[in-house]
């Protein structure tokens, strides 16, 4: 390779100080996306809230994974019954919440901050347990549906032809089955096998939308010239799919997985509410609401707290998904405020912005 001897003559390019490179110089695409995500206030707050909820929920009651466990800092668990406490409750009902955020003599958590259920179990412990289950279901469905949807979408979008036809007809078939009915059947037959089993099974039926999106993305990306270039370079199909195309589709995948996850927590709640999801003695947020739906008028706190958790968690996940979508979309532009509009200009920084619109 004797031809490599020439010394490079590096010509400084005007375009290097280009307006478009101002923000992006020396940054990889993922760094840009991260920067844009961090600037999205709603999403950042949601990330913070969701993380706090996860830590709070799992540390309160403790958890056990593969024999390793942690006991939790809350004094009750979700199974033990305690005598119903009725002092200070309105209308002589037992088990009202002792949480009091107004300054006064009762200020503080009290003995049962979220109250007790009708047989005297501590409701705070029950809600924590339910939230643990619901979060678990959410993540498992997200992972399972994400994996299946991505692979099926990628394969059918890349290979097209009969592979695509078969996979997409199968996808149509999955779409036509209402998830709530499939969930009911699974819950009815296998509900006693535990919440993890249920989550995996639900994941097997919620990937269809993602698969279609990924397929669409692959159909356009495979026509791009860098795919041909990779093929000329000698890359195998597998390498092209996973190394070249998939990283370019990751925006679509992440966004739609977060949306699947926020849907999953609602799906689990709906199923449990119908009595087909998580079954007693285990609890989930949906199950708690369903069990105490009759007591809405008399003991509304049995309704408030699990409902609050469902709303906050799914809102957070939705906001994060929103922030991610904005971060991955290069066309996003902020509107200008009046202050910025009147800011003094600086004619010394001559920019080339001809094609900016």
């Amino acid at each position: 390779m004797n031809f490599f001897k020439r010394t490079p003559k590096v010509v400084p390019r005007v375009a290097d100080s280009d307006i478009f490179n101002k923000e992006t110089e020396g940054l990889s695409q993922s760094q840009i996306v991260r920067g844009r995500f961090i600037r999205h206030r709603g999403a950042m707050i949601s990330v913070f809230v969701l993380l706090s909820i996860i830590i709070f929920v799992f540390s309160a009651l403790g958890f056990k994974i593969l024999g390793l466990g942690y006991g939790g800092w809350w004094k009750y668990n979700s199974i033990d019954m305690t005598p119903l406490r009725s002092e200070g409750c309105p209308g002589g009902l037992g088990g009202c919440p002792t949480l009091d955020l107004l300054p006064g003599k009762n200020f503080g958590l009290g003995d049962h901050p979220f109250g007790q259920d009708d047989i005297g179990r501590d409701y705070f412990a029950l809600v924590m347990r339910g939230a643990q289950r619901s979060l678990l279901v959410m993540f498992v469905i997200g992972i399972v549906a994400g994996l299946i949807g991505t692979v099926i979408g990628a394969v059918s979008g890349y290979f097209r032809g009969w592979v695509d036809a078969v996979l997409m007809r199968f996808n149509d078939f999955i779409i036509t089955i209402p998830t709530i009915i499939i969930g009911s059947v699974i819950g009815f037959h296998f509900g006693n096998k535990g919440v993890l089993f249920l989550a995996v099974f639900l994941g097997l039926f919620t990937w269809s939308g993602l698969a279609r999106l990924v397929r669409g993305e692959f159909l356009t990306l495979r026509e791009r010239e860098f795919v041909d270039a990779a093929r000329v370079a000698g890359a195998s199909n597998r390498r092209i799919i996973f190394k070249h195309i998939l990283p370019n589709a990751v925006g679509v995948i992440i966004v739609s997985i977060t949306l699947i996850m926020s849907g999953a927590i609602l799906l689990e709640s709906a199923l449990s509410y119908l009595g087909f999801g998580v079954v007693s003695p285990d609890v989930s947020l949906g199950l708690l609401i369903s069990q105490y739906q009759d007591s809405f008028t008399t003991r509304p706190w049995l309704f408030w707290y699990p409902g609050l958790f469902i709303i906050v968690i799914s809102l957070c996940v939705n906001f994060i998904g929103d922030g991610l979508r904005d971060a991955f979309d290069p066309r996003q532009r902020r509107r200008l405020s009046r202050k910025e509009r009147s800011k003094n200009h600086d004619l010394t920084t001559v920019a080339k912005a001809g094609e900016i619109n």
Binding site: M1, F3, F4, R6, T7, P8, K9, V10, V11, R13, V14, A15, D16, D18, I19, N21, K22, E23, T24, E25, G26, L27, S28, Q29, R224, E225, F226, D228, A229, A230, R231, V232, A233, G234, A235, R239, H244, P247, N248, R333, R335, L336, E340, R341, K343, N344, H345, D346, L347, T349, V350, A351, K352, A353, G354, E355, I356, N357
Partner: protein, 547 residues
Amino acid sequence: MSTPVLKVTQFTVEFWVDGVWYPAAINMNFEVKAGQTLAIVGESGSGKSTVAMGVMSLLASNARTSGSIEVKGVEVLGAPAQLLQKYRGNEVAYIFQEPMTALNPVYTIGFQIIETLRNHFDMGPKEARLRAIELITLVEIPDPEKSIDKYPHQLSGGQRQRAMIAQALACDPALLIADEPTTALDVTVQAEILDLMRGLRTKLNSAILLITHDMGVVADMADEILVMQSGRMVEHGSADQIFNTPQDPYTQELLGSVPKLGSTPMRVIAPAAVEPTPVLKLDSVTIEYPKRGRIPAFVAVKDFSLEIFPGEIVGLVGESGSGKTTVGRAAIGLLPIKEGKLEVVGRDISGASQKELRQIRRNTGIVFQDPASSLNPRLPIGESIGEPLLLANIAKGKELDQMVEELLAKVELPRSYRNRYPHELSGGQRQRVGIARALALTPDILIADEPTSALDVSVQARFLDLLQELQEQLKFACLFISHDLAVVDILSHRIAVMQDGLLVETGTRDEILKSPKHPYTQRLLSAVPVPNPAEQKIRREARLASK
């Protein structure tokens, strides 16, 4: 002298980018009179489109303007939306670059012209239709009575651009802004559209503001020229003045880098080794896009024979749709061939399996047309360049990095660019990366598929220099596909001309350019605008006379 149709004074546009105002056009001063054409020229990013959009008050929401724009003596900058709507179309009309995207595909062209007419005038549907037919006749679309009910996709590119012009002319605008009106068109079609616009200017006496980067088009159309660089007016003068005695160094450089037909001396090929075997041999090759559903099979290339010998650059020219890209892709096995025989370095590619293809591809390289799309945006360019080496098991790890850096140095990019991502590079730099990747395996033949059509002229000139230097060092054979005869003229030893999938003519460069035999080649050559107003006038008249 009459009052100018458009008078722009101290016009400045700035864009808000991350907390700073970036000026895109600074202190523009110019005017256009009725029946006159002012051309704004400059490279991409020089702010010429920004000025045009500013005149139409169609800038993006993050822009701020100052100065004054007067149309027929009325100030339009900062005018209320109602007034603007009236003046757009009535006084000023805009012809866009890409007619396919600027026309609404779900409506007939007649509908779109009639809509414009009825928006601006108090007109009944029948009246408007008659006027629309009149307009379509004016822009010389064949069979206007029928064409009025056609949808944009039923028209050819040139006819679409004509329909766009008809729509723009609907309200007899005093000023016509044409933003790169012919960039998306083939040369022969371009020549026709330019003829049409010139005819309309004399017929309707409107002023034209022409925005283009093509100096040939400028020479053909412009009375006055305004040269822009980085948002500033560099030079302003009559066409003769700018072309013949350019004052500013930038204008001189710009004019100097425009490739001119027949200006480079013939390059001599080193005497071939004994018994030269062709590196690429196409023997009556037919390539077909197979039928899909109800769409019948389409024969893109028919009975095509061409041989390329070691160390030779063969230019393949033709208009869009002539099948030249198809030939290039088939030559590296990206497309299957239906009939005939295709040999790369003595090996038959026609019936090769995937595994054999991979072997053959080690001897070939390809540079793609669009530098934005041919590099994986998620891979650092070092990885893109190194991929062929890695996959061919030539080098790994440290050794690979070393070779990638050497390749970068070869295409005159700093070695440190290895870790950059494609979007951090300019178009010309990306195209260099494309070459580095194509040359990574030191191929015997390089396919260059319109590598310069997305580049500015000055960048194009440097790119072509680099390609020539590399070719002289490495002695690879090259199939250079282009629609631009002037570019092919600079590079090639031999030229092949294609039309509608058929090989029309082959010959040495001088044979094709100086004494073309086939009428299509002659037509193609005469349609190329020359960047010299006087010469272009002679050519234009000769072309019209021969019609």
